[in-house]
């Protein structure tokens, strides 16, 4: 595993949530939904937005 891959793995967060739906009381349904969030991509988006706010600031 290369350094880039290791950093990427460290920078990637797996977040999830559980939704419980009950139709038949004897057969509850559980749905697991997982979302993969790329932290590096989020930081880049945040940087772009904050740069835009600062550059367009009213003096």
């Amino acid at each position: 595993m290369g350094t880039g891959t290791a950093i990427f793995v460290a920078a990637t967060a797996f977040t999830g949530c559980t939704v419980k739906a009950v139709g038949d009381p004897n057969r509850p349904i559980t749905i697991n939904a997982n979302v993969v969030v790329d932290i590096r991509g989020l930081k880049q988006a945040a940087t772009n937005i904050e740069d835009m706010v600062a550059q367009g600031a009213v003096k």
Binding site: A13, T15, N34, V35, I39, K43, Q44, A46, I49
Partner: protein, 136 residues
Amino acid sequence: MKRFYTVLLSASLIFFALAPLGISADYNFKKMTPEIDQALKNRQARYSQLQDLKQEGLLGENNKGYVTDLKSNAAASSLAGAENQDRRIVYEALAEQNGLGRTGLLEVQKAFAEVQHEKSAAGDMIQDPSGNWIKK
């Protein structure tokens, strides 16, 4: 369940293959709504004043992507409230429009907090991940 793990494994393999190439997910506003546009303009309009209050130590950047009134100053508190309201619009829109969901919103806020800390000027107050306030 087997299908779920197959999809998860496939997604992971794609990420691992792209990582060395420096490719990351592209998060942005898919649709610039009037609400987002207004929030960004509001933030630009108060930016200089916000920086001044941060330099005076009245406001600090917390670890959740928002500003905190540190000395119970009325003017600073009012500005922080308005700024945080606009930031929330931006964060929620980014999470929602990129399908990140409620838990993704926390990651969005965390990413913005890190960027705000990096961009803070020397002397500004910032809150570290463990909750302690430090002067940058």
